[in-house]
Amino acid sequence: MHADIKATGPSRSSFARLASMREAGLIVIILALCIAMSFASPHFLTWGNFRAMLMSFSIEGIVVVGMTILLIVGGIDLSVGSVVCFSMVVSGALFLMGLDPWTASLIGIAASALIGAVMGFFVTVVGLNHFITSLAAMVIVRGLCLVITKGTPLSLFTLPPAFKAIGQGSFQGIPYVIIIFVVVVAIFDFLLRRATAFRKVFYTGSNEKAAQFSGIKTNQVKFWVTVLCATLSGFAGVIYMSRFGAATPTFGAGMELNIIAAAVIGGASLKGGSGTIFGAILGIALLSVVSSSLILLNISVYWQDMIKGCILLAAVSADHFLHTKKS
């Protein structure tokens, strides 16, 4: 009712300012943490430590990209950790059967996309929600990993050096993993802001009914975003395989929580319709800086989950506070 009065305010919308505030706020927090840590530990402000931190969230960061887009469309995927592992295990097993690692990896990524397509089918055709569908997929796919490997890790030390280089090598001192991560983030951040196809993701997530009444085939949008998220998880999986030279059937358990937390800290809404890739990456960077700080401060790793949970709660509370204050 007082909205029409508010609309006569400054020309730049309060919404856009708030969104940029979220990202600016995260950068400030991350920088503050880094400055504090540089005093607390002589090892923090070293290239080696920074590289380690970047490495630690680069591969997860690729999954965060997919998750953020899925959250924007109003979905969620609890199966990302399982799918990462599945891609790793499938590629690894095919390699051990004699396939070259590149083809094996492509098949692993394609298999992950297929899992996304099956989830997409259940969401759009059968009409289940993303949460339940992906919860089931999380368990089923994890089971598949155990079946394929018979429960034991696949040792892949015979992977050719060229393939191992993806995860372990570097260019001019910059690990390929970080380069790949930056390229994926840049591409999807740009597409999400500028591409017509991704605009439909925002329409669908913001108000599915209104999107349908604008002629947008929302089921198609939801299907393809689900596939995209699983495909990016599969892509992350083969990079992990290259990095570790092994495929462990229990790898990635619990990863989904970290990833969803990062996207939400970065401003993605679980109700759909809002979120940015840049914000989500800042979210995972924050979590990673905190982890690294705790290690350098010699705080027991047992505290990590607790502290991450508290950060998530604080971020979401801050968001809620800003939004309710706004309206």
């Binding site: 909205a3 609309a7 913001s206 002629g215 319709g273």
Partner: protein
Amino acid sequence: MTDAPVLQIRNLSKAFGPVKALSGVELELRRGEVHALCGENGAGKSTLMNMIGGVLQPDEGEILIDGQPVAIASPAAAQKLGIALVHQEIALCQDATVAENICMAAINARRAPLMNYGEVYAQAEKAMNQLAPIPVRTKVADLSISSQQLVEIAKALTLDCKVLILDEPTAALTETEAQRLFSIVRDLKARGISVIYISHRMAEIFSLCDRVTVFRDGRYVATEAIAATSPDDVVRKMVGREITQLYPDKLPADAAPGLSLLSVKGLSDGSRFANVDLDLKAGEILGIGGLIGAGRSEIAQTICGLRQASTGSVALDGKPLAIRSYADAVQAGLVYLSEDRKGSGVFLDLSIAANVSALDLGKLTGRFGLLDRRAEADQATNLAKRLGVRMAGIDAPVSTLSGGNQQKVAIAKQLSVSPRVIIMDEPTRGIDVGAKVEIHRLLRDLASQGVGILVISSELPELIGLCDRVLVVREGAIAGELGAGELDEEAIIMLASGVQPTPAHQAQVNHVA
């Protein structure tokens, strides 16, 4: 009985941050009076009602009940004081039964550890049957919107109240249900209960209420006895300026009929409606009337491919259309404006520019599938200017706009594809008088520019004032057509309900006339 008013508001103010929603308003409610409260959206009616209902606290001023100043700290406190508030928006537990909803306050106050369903059902039935025979054991989610609204009212009736506040109670009701509600209100009044009645519909106010208070921009304007004022006068006070003409001029009676723009033959969907014919000509505004649930929206949605047709044909400009999806219809130049603005009309949290371009992104897409943001901004700026959208800028989210301006954005979205025919489902529902007049003018302008305008409306004055011709739908079939000379409320109600008007209808119609 004392002479003090049941409820008196003195010099009440309320601000939300820097925005003054109410400043120094007055209201006096006498015993057994039905008191209308009028004002455009944003005038502060709902804010005041929320303070009386204990939802909000005033910053300044006082509320007196029976002459005693009171502080109404919570909705429960309001109920204790005998104030019952029926909100405009339905707030029922969708998964609970009608009875559980109606008796919610009683169940909440109950001390016993177990539910006494027998009593709950009996009490609920008693309250419900005064209004409509809605079975109290059904789940609320299974009811139509109008039935849900009746449940809300029944819920308020079970509270032993002396002040009943009805905030736009008839917005979702059919004519018959509304009539039943009016007789209940008269009955309550006879029992000495005072009613505050908020509505935009002058016909209702003038047939039902004793006095009317008008607010404008959060300020008190005037209180008048209904007998001493007129609808024109009330509207004038509401908008604060002279509205010389509520509705734009119609087509002159001797105008030659234009070419057929949209022609529908034998359209059926196999369930809700059958064998619908209609013919929309260039230059005219064709109305579709009928009761809620008669199938009007379903017909419109089927014409433009939002629902599946089983038989029938649709032709645009004389050429038959093969529409498999709504996107096909948009491509052909046939667009639909949804009746549920917030639910399916606009994207509340997206920007005005993004809302306007939603219908045809292809047009704004450049090379490599990327959006041309400059073209998008230009389009939104031009259409917003043309429709007079009052906004901070095209980047502002639609949620920051008033209802009327949100609706203009929804219409701008339709206009962005330069349509041949626009089907508007309740184009002015819940919009204040000023914006309503602007939208009506716009529709008339579009019609005279040769765009086909089909208007579905539940507001009889709108159908009569705006349309050149009205088709009335009853139970999924066209019950009849009313031409320029035959348009009046009685004729539409007769066709819509299929019965002779009751004395109550007659009384209302006469009263207004």
